[in-house]
Structure formats: C-alpha cells, structure tokens
C-alpha cells in the first residue's frame, strides 16, 4: 500500500498521537481500574495500523519481535510482582497501601499505576505478537 499517498500521510501524522494517547490512558487510568487494557490496545493499534500501511518489515525494524515477546511476559511479571511486593511489605496480596506507610492513598496510587502498567504492557505485547504472526503468515 506504499503507493497509497493519502493513507500513508494520514497514518504518519496519526501514529505519534495515538502512541501518546495510549500512554496518557495508561498513566491516567489509576482513577479507576481498567486503564491498562485500553492503553495496551491503543498502543498496539498504533503499531498495527503502521504495519498495515507500511508493511511488516519496517514495523519489526521499529519494534523487534523479541521485544514484543518479552513485553508479554514482563507485563505479567510486573503485575504479579507488585502483588508479591505488597505481600513482602507486610500487606495482603495486591494491598498497595503498604507501599507508602505514611499515605496509604498514595501507596494505592503507585500500586495501581504499576499494576495497570503491567496489564498495558502485556495487552499491547499480546496484540502485537498476534498481529505479527497473523500478518506475517496469512495470505488469501
């Protein structure tokens, strides 16, 4: 689709802002759970639209496959790791208030932020991985 001028230009303009929006959702998601999912989807969507318009090879150049695969695992590890950290800090599993003994609410903020980050990384990793395998190998 490289010859497709309009789509190409529009996509180029779009991609940075979509990525930014993903990070925005990620970082502002801590006022209610669920932000990580959205962020992950949006983040991956940016790469997916890029891959559709420019092809797989440039996409992999920007985001190597190994990185994508590691993202999946690292996100989950981050998620569960925060839970364990809470345990070790003396709270119950996923009890983030222990992260800041003086201000439990801040602790909760931090905990949710990290957990959601884990979710976001995993979700985007999974989606990208699936798209890459799908697009790489499927032809009608």
């Amino acid at each position: 689709m490289n010859e497709h001028l309009i789509v190409r230009v529009v996509t180029k303009m779009l991609v940075p802002f979509v990525l930014l929006f993903a990070l925005y959702v990620q970082m502002h998601g801590d006022f209610g759970p669920g932000g990580g999912f959205q962020a992950g989807v949006i983040f991956a969507a940016a790469f997916i639209v890029y891959a559709i318009v420019f092809g797989i090879r440039p996409t992999i150049r920007a985001m190597p496959v190994g990185v994508v695969a590691a993202m999946v695992s690292l996100g989950v590890i981050l998620y569960a790791g925060v839970g364990f950290a809470a345990l070790l800090a003396g709270g119950s599993f996923l009890d983030y208030s222990v992260f800041d003994p003086h201000d439990p609410v801040r602790g909760q903020h931090l905990g949710i932020l990290l957990v959601e980050l884990g979710v976001g990384i995993t979700v985007s990793g999974v989606l990208m991985a699936i798209f890459l395998t799908f697009a790489e190998r499927y032809s009608r």
Binding site: L5, R8, V9, L19, Y24, H28, P58, A62
Partner: protein, 160 residues
C-alpha cells in the same frame, strides 16, 4: 536526529499531554516528558517524522484555511442531504479530473481530503498534478473545477 521537526513534534505532543492531563501535578508532568520522549523515539524509529508525517510548516496558514473549509462542508452537507431526501432522488453522478497545483505531498493530501470531506465530492485517485474526483451531482464538480479550493490549499502551502 534532533532536527527542528523532532523538537516540534515533542512540543506538540507535550502540549497535547498537558491539555489532556488538565492537572498541573508535578508527577504527571514529569511522566508526560518521559512519555513524549518515548513516543518521539518510537516515531523516529518508525520514520514518521518528516514533512509528510509532521507538516508543522502548514500549521499557521491552516488557521486561515480551516474556517473556510468548514463553511464549505456545512454548505455541501445541506446540499447532499437535500438531494438524498428529495422524493425523486435528485442526483446526477459524474467523475472528472480536477487540476491540482500543490507542490508537496502534504498539500496534495490536504486538497484531496478537503474534497472528500465536503460531501458531494470524493477524491478517487491522486496524481501529482490532478485529482480524480467523483461527484454526486455534476454541479459540485463544476464548482470544484472553478479552482477556488485548489488555490486556497496552495496558499496554505505558502505561495512562491
């Protein structure tokens, strides 16, 4: 790497971030810087920071063009709605080549998208010097062939 365009992209992104955040909290502002840096790095790796992907040079003059375009969109919306809703379906489809005098790809895209955005005309195909346009009614095509939109877009590109 750190071209003017890159810096510009960073600033625009950060502005958007602040606007979206709406909270002047140091933590989020710092996170915003990190986030924008990350995006710029990724955008750079994806090679989208160029005059096509970040046509900041058009921004100022676009402020003049956009209101006119919106007015055109409003007018043609009403027009197309009337045609669609008229009992006998008052349409007369036609397609033709419309000359395009823009010099840059960004300008060409702006022109083509403007055509598509105004209901009643759709850009079918873009060539370096002309755009293949389809219209719901011959009248819209004739109006486009006047060349006013072409001129205004080229003015946005900056006249030589």
């Amino acid at each position: 790497m750190l071209s003017g365009r890159t810096v510009s992209l960073f600033l625009v992104l950060y502005g958007t971030w602040l606007l979206l955040s709406g909270i002047w909290e140091p933590f989020l502002m710092i996170v915003g810087v990190i986030a924008c840096c990350l995006v710029v790095v990724l955008a750079h790796r994806m090679a989208v920071i160029d005059e096509e992907g970040h046509p900041i040079h058009l921004a100022l003059r676009a402020l003049l063009y956009v209101p006119w375009l919106f007015w055109q969109i409003a007018l043609s919306n009403v027009g197309v709605a009337r045609r669609v809703l008229s009992p006998r379906l008052n349409i007369d489809p036609a397609s033709a080549m419309v000359p395009a005098s823009q010099r840059s790809n960004a300008g060409l895209v702006a022109f083509a998208n403007s055509i598509t955005l105004t209901p009643g005309t759709v850009s079918l195909s873009v060539y370096s010097d002309r755009i293949h346009v389809h219209a719901l009614h011959r009248a819209s095509l004739d109006e486009l062939l006047n060349g006013e939109m072409d001129r205004r877009v080229r003015r946005m590109e900056g006249e030589v």
